[in-house]
C-alpha cells in the first residue's frame, strides 16, 4: 500500500502531475471522439507531437542546467530553409546536406554555450542574439523566400513511415525517431555526464568544488538543444513543408512543455520523460480543444493560461513542502556558531505583518 500511496503522491506533485494531466486529456479526447483511441489514429497523433516533443527534450537539458535556449525556433527555420534550398530536387544531395545541417546545429550550440559560459553573458541574451542572427542570416541568404520543398526522399523522413504494419497501419519515421531520441535522452541523463549536468543546474558552486568543468558541460547541453532543433527541423520539412514561419515560436512551446513537465526554471530538478509528457499533454490539450469546437486561434491563449497555472502550481506546492524552512529573514550567510542547531539555524519567526506582499 505504501508504494501505491507514494505513487499517488508523486502523481499530484509538480513532478508527476503532468502524467495525470496527460491521462485526463487523452481520456477526454476519446470521449469526444472515440476514433481517437484507434491505434491508427493515435499513432498519427504521436507523429504530430514528435517535433515538439523532440525540442522539449533539448530544451529540458538546457533548462535543467540552469539556462535558456531562445534560439531554437530560429534554428529550426534555418535548418528547414537550408534543406529546402540545398537539396532542391536532387535526392543525391540529401545525405551530404543532412550532415551539413547537423554540423551547423552543433556549431550553433557550441557558440551559444561558449559565449554563455566563458564570456559570462546571460544565456537569455546570448540565445536572443543568436535568434536574431540566425533569422536574419537565413532570410538574407534566401532573399526572403524559401524556395519550395526539397526532394521527396528527404521529405519522407517527416511524413512517411513503415507501411502495412498490423494494427497501426503505419509507424511514422518521426515516431521511431522520437522513441529513439527519448531512449537516448533517458540513458544520457543517467550517465555521469548527464547527472553532473543536473548537479550543475542545482548548484554550480558545489559542482565546481567537486571538480566539474562547468563550461564544458553546459556547452554540451546547448549542443544537445541545437541538435534536437535540427532533428525537429528535418521532420518538419516533410510534415509541414518549407516556409519561413516554420519553427516560429518553437522555443516558447518547448519551454512551456518543459515547465508543464514540472522542470523548474533555474535548474537542478526535473525528469526528461516528464518534459516529453508535457509536450504530449500540450498537444493533447490542443487536440481536445479542436474536437470541442474551440477556435484554433485560441490555442495560444490556452497555452498562456496553462503555463502560468503550471508554474504557479509548482511554486505553491514547493512552498508547502518547505514550510518548516521558509521565512528566513536574514539573507542566508555563513552558518553561525557550531551549536546553533543541527541542520539549519532556522529563525523561528515570520516577518512582521505590513511589511510583506
Amino acid at each position: 500500500m505504501n508504494r501505491v500511496r507514494s505513487a499517488a503522491i508523486t502523481l499530484v506533485s509538480p513532478r508527476g502531475a503532468v502524467f495525470l494531466l496527460l491521462a485526463i486529456m487523452l481520456v477526454a479526447i476519446t470521449v469526444l471522439n472515440p476514433n481517437f483511441a484507434e491505434p491508427g489514429q493515435f499513432i498519427r497523433f504521436v507523429q504530430r507531437v514528435a517535433p515538439i516533443a523532440i525540442v522539449a527534450i533539448g530544451q529540458y537539458f538546457v533548462i535543467v542546467s540552469g539556462e535558456f535556449d531562445l534560439s531554437m525556433g530560429a534554428l529550426i527555420t534555418a535548418q528547414v530553409v537550408i534543406a529546402g534550398n540545398l537539396i532542391g530536387q536532387d535526392e543525391s544531395k540529401s545525405v551530404p546536406v543532412l550532415l551539413f545541417m547537423i554540423a551547423f546545429g552543433i556549431v550553433v550550440g557550441i557558440v551559444n554555450g561558449l559565449v554563455t559560459t566563458l564570456l559570462k553573458v546571460p544565456s537569455f541574451i546570448v540565445t536572443l542574439g543568436m535568434m536574431l542572427a540566425l533569422s536574419g542570416g537565413v532570410l538574407f541568404w534566401t532573399g526572403g523566400a524559401a524556395t519550395g520543398n526539397p526532394a521527396d526522399g528527404f521529405r519522407q523522413i517527416g511524413r512517411g513511415g513503415i507501411r502495412d504494419v498490423p494494427i497501426v497501419d503505419i509507424i511514422p519515421f518521426s515516431v521511431i525517431i522520437l522513441v529513439v531520441l527519448l531512449a537516448l535522452a533517458i540513458w544520457f541523463s543517467k550517465r555521469p555526464f548527464g547527472r553532473t549536468l543536473i548537479a550543475i543546474g542545482d548548484s554550480s558552486t558545489a559542482a565546481r568544488f567537486a571538480g566539474a568543468r562547468v563550461w564544458q558541460v553546459k556547452t554540451t547541453a546547448f549542443v544537445i538543444s541545437s541538435l534536437t532543433a535540427t532533428v525537429s527541423g528535418v521532420l518538419l520539412v516533410g510534415y509541414a513543408g518549407v516556409h519561413p514561419s516554420v519553427g516560429q515560436g518553437y522555443e516558447f512551446i518547448a519551454i512551456t512543455a518543459v515547465v508543464l513537465g514540472g522542470v523548474v526554471l533555474g535548474g537542478g530538478r526535473g525528469w526528461v520523460v516528464a518534459a516529453v509528457a508535457g509536450a504530449f499533454a500540450l498537444e493533447a490539450l490542443f487536440t481536445l480543444l479542436n474536437f470541442a469546437g474551440i477556435p484554433s486561434t485560441l490555442r495560444d491563449a490556452i497555452q498562456g493560461g496553462i503555463i502560468i497555472l503550471a508554474v504557479a502550481y509548482s511554486a505553491t506546492t514547493f512552498r508547502a513542502r518547505r514550510k518548516g524552512h521558509s521565512t528566513q529573514t536574514l539573507p542566508p550567510g555563513k552558518e553561525p556558531d557550531a551549536n546553533d542547531g543541527p541542520a539549519q539555524p532556522a529563525p523561528q519567526m515570520s516577518p512582521a505583518t505590513g511589511s510583506e506582499h
Binding site: 555521469p192 548537479a199 559542482a207 567537486a210 539573507p331 557550531a338 543541527p342 519567526m349
Partner: protein
C-alpha cells in the same frame, strides 16, 4: 557609583533549536555611553544572543526591556525603530545604490510628496560627520566602497534610526589595522552620544582597548559579567575556555605511522595569505587553528585550487605540481571538505546517492559503476541515516549531510584530505563518526589537514597544530599545549615560548 538606568536589560534569556539548548539563563545590561564586550568561543552563544536582541530570533524564555519597557520583537525592523540596531558581518546593503539611498532605504525623506534627495544627502553627511567621517561621499555607490567604508554605512544607517543600542558582530574581522583605528574613533563618538555598544569579538586586544564591561559566555551559559578593569587577558581566556572535555576523541588507530612528506608548500601566498611553508606528511593529522578572518579557509582553498596560490610552490609526493583549479586538485588526489556544506559541498535538491557520486561522476566518470556499488556500504559504515539513498539531501540533518559529503570524497580515494570546520553544526554522534573516519584515513596513509575553530577538537585530534593569524602561520604548537596557549597565539597575544610571537 552612579547607577544610570540601563538602556537595554535582559534577564534569563533562553533559546533552543530543534531541541538543542543554545542559551540558558543569560542576563545582560547595556549602559548608555559604554562599550559592552561579549566574548566566548565559537558555539558559546554570542551570535544567538545578539540575534535575539536584534529581533531576528525570538527568545524561548526570559525578558528583554528596552528603555525600561518590556519588548518582544518579531522582525529586525521593529527593533531598529526602537533604537536597537545591529551591524552584522553580512552587510544588508544594496551595492548599486548610493550611501544615502542605502541609509534611508524604506524611509526615504519626502518633500511635497517627492523624495528629497538633497535632504537625504545632507542628512547622511551630517550623520557621517557625527561619526567623524569626512571621506565618504554620500552619493557614492556602496559597491565602490571598501569593506570598512561599507561598515561605516551600516553604522550610519543605525545612527539614522537614532539608535540607543548598536550591536556589532566581529566588526574588525575583515579590517586592516588602520581601518580598525577608524572604527575606534567612530565608537568613541558613539559613546559620547550616549549610545550603548554591544561589541562581540574574538580579538581580545580590542576587547580590552574598547570595553568598559565584559560579559563572558561559555557553552550557552553566563560565566561572568563585570567591569573590564577587573580582568586580565589570561583570566579572560581562562573563563572563556576552561571546561571538562566531554567529547570523545578517538586515539590514533594502531599501526598508524607518520610517513614521508606528502604535501609540501614553500613560500606560498596569494591576495589573502602569505609566506606559507608547510609540510604535510602521510598518516599525519595537522590541525589549523586561528580566528575568523585569519586566512585558514583561504589556505585550504589555495591548496585545493579554488583560489590558487600566486606565489610559491607546491609539491605532492616529491613532484612539483600546480593546482590551478579544483578539477586539477581532485585529479591529483586532493580533497576539500568545505566550510559551507550547503552552498559548496552539496547539491541540495539532489539525492544522497547523487551527491555521494558527485565528484566521481564529474572527474572520474569511468569509475562510476564501481563507486555506485561501493556507496551504500560507505554510507552504512558512516551510519548515515536517511530514507534510502534516493532522499534529497536537503532533508537530512547537518550531521548526516556532512557524512554524505565525506562519502563523496572517500569515493575518490584521495591522498590528501583538507577539512574546513568538519564538525560545525553537527550532533555529537556524527562528530565522533567524523573523528573516527579521520583516524582511519590516517592509518591508511592519507595526509590530513583539519581547520577548526573548536579548540578541544584541534587539541584532541592533531599531531601538530598550526595557528594562523592575519594570513600567516603565526605559530606551530605541540599537541600537548593548553587551549589558552592556542587562543593566545590566535589572538596574537602569545608571549611564552613554544612559537613565534605574532603582533
Amino acid at each position: 557609583m552612579t547607577t544610570t538606568a540601563p538602556v537595554l536589560s535582559a534577564r534569563g534569556i533562553e533559546k533552543g533549536f530543534f531541541g538543542v539548548t543554545v542559551l540558558k539563563g543569560i542576563d545582560i545590561d547595556l549602559q548608555p555611553g559604554t562599550v559592552h564586550g561579549l566574548v566566548g568561543e565559537n558555539g558559546a552563544g554570542k551570535s544567538t544572543l545578539m540575534k535575539i536582541i536584534a529581533g531576528v530570533y525570538t527568545r524561548d524564555a526570559g525578558t528583554l526591556a528596552v528603555g525600561g519597557t518590556e519588548k518582544s520583537y518579531t522582525h529586525p525592523l521593529q527593533a531598529m525603530r526602537d533604537g536597537v540596531a545591529t551591524v552584522f558581518q553580512e552587510f544588508n546593503l544594496l551595492p548599486e545604490r548610493s550611501v544615502a539611498e542605502n541609509v534611508f532605504l524604506g524611509r526615504e525623506p519626502r518633500r511635497y510628496g517627492f523624495v528629497d534627495t538633497k535632504g537625504m544627502t545632507r542628512r547622511t553627511s551630517e550623520l557621517l560627520a557625527e561619526l567623524g567621517i569626512d571621506f565618504i561621499d554620500p552619493t557614492a555607490s556602496v559597491g565602490s566602497l571598501t569593506v570598512a567604508e561599507q561598515q561605516v554605512v551600516e553604522i550610519t544607517k543605525a545612527l539614522s534610526f537614532d539608535a540607543k543600542v548598536i550591536s556589532m558582530d566581529e566588526p574588525t574581522a575583515a579590517l586592516a589595522d588602520h581601518e580598525v583605528e577608524l572604527l575606534y574613533g567612530i565608537i568613541e563618538r558613539l559613546k559620547q552620544r550616549g549610545v550603548a555598544i554591544l561589541y562581540v569579538s574574538h580579538r581580545l586586544k580590542e576587547i580590552f582597548d574598547l570595553c568598559d564591561t565584559i560579559t563572558v559566555l561559555k557553552d550557552g551559559a553566563l560565566v561572568s559579567s563585570g567591569p573590564a578593569s577587573d580582568l586580565t587577558t589570561d583570566e579572560l581566556v581562562r573563563r572563556m575556555v576552561g571546561r571538562s572535555i566531554s567529547t570523545f576523541f578517538p586515539p590514533a588507530v594502531e599501526g598508524t605511522a607518520v610517513g614521508d612528506v606528502r604535501l609540501a608548500v614553500r613560500g606560498g601566498g596569494n591576495a589573502h595569505i602569505d609566506g606559507i611553508d608547510l609540510d604535510l606528511r602521510a598518516g599525519e593529522i595537522v590541525g589549523v587553528a586561528g580566528l575568523q578572518g585569519s586566512g585558514r579557509t583561504e589556505l585550504a582553498e589555495a591548496l585545493f585550487g579554488a583560489a590558487p596560490l600566486t606565489r610559491g610552490s607546491i609539491a605532492l609526493d616529491g613532484d612539483t605540481v600546480t593546482v590551478p583549479s579544483p578539477r586539477r586538485a581532485v585529479k591529483q588526489g586532493i580533497a576539500l571538505i568545505t566550510e559551507d556544506r550547503k552552498a559548496q559541498g552539496l547539491a541540495l535538491n539532489q539525492s544522497v546517492l547523487d551527491n555521494a557520486l558527485l565528484v566521481v561522476r564529474a572527474v572520474f566518470p569511468g569509475r562510476t559503476g564501481a563507486a555506485r556499488q561501493a556507496v551504500p556500504g560507505v554510507l552504512t559504515s558512516l551510519e548515515v541515516s536517511s530514507r534510502g539513498t534516493g532522499q534529497e539531501v536537503q532533508f537530512l540533518s547537518g550531521g548526516n549531510q556532512q557524512k554524505v559529503v565525506l562519502a563523496k570524497w572517500l569515493a575518490t580515494k584521495p591522498r590528501v584530505v583538507l577539512l574546513d570546520e568538519p564538525t560545525r553544526g553537527i550532533d555529537v554522534g556524527a562528530k565522533v563518526a567524523v573523528y573516527q573516519l579521520m583516524r582511519d584515513l590516517a592509518k591508511e596513509g592519507v595526509a590530513i589537514l583539519m581547520i577548526s575553530s573548536e579548540l578541544p577538537e584541534v587539541l584532541g585530534m592533531s599531531d601538530r597544530i598550526l595557528v594562523m593569524h592575519d594570513g600567516r602561520v603565526a605559530a606551530e604548537l605541540e599537541p600537548g599545549v593548553s587551549e589558552e596557549t592556542v587562543l593566545a597565539a590566535a589572538t596574537g597575544t602569545l608571549r611564552s615560548s613554544g612559537g613565534e610571537v605574532a603582533l
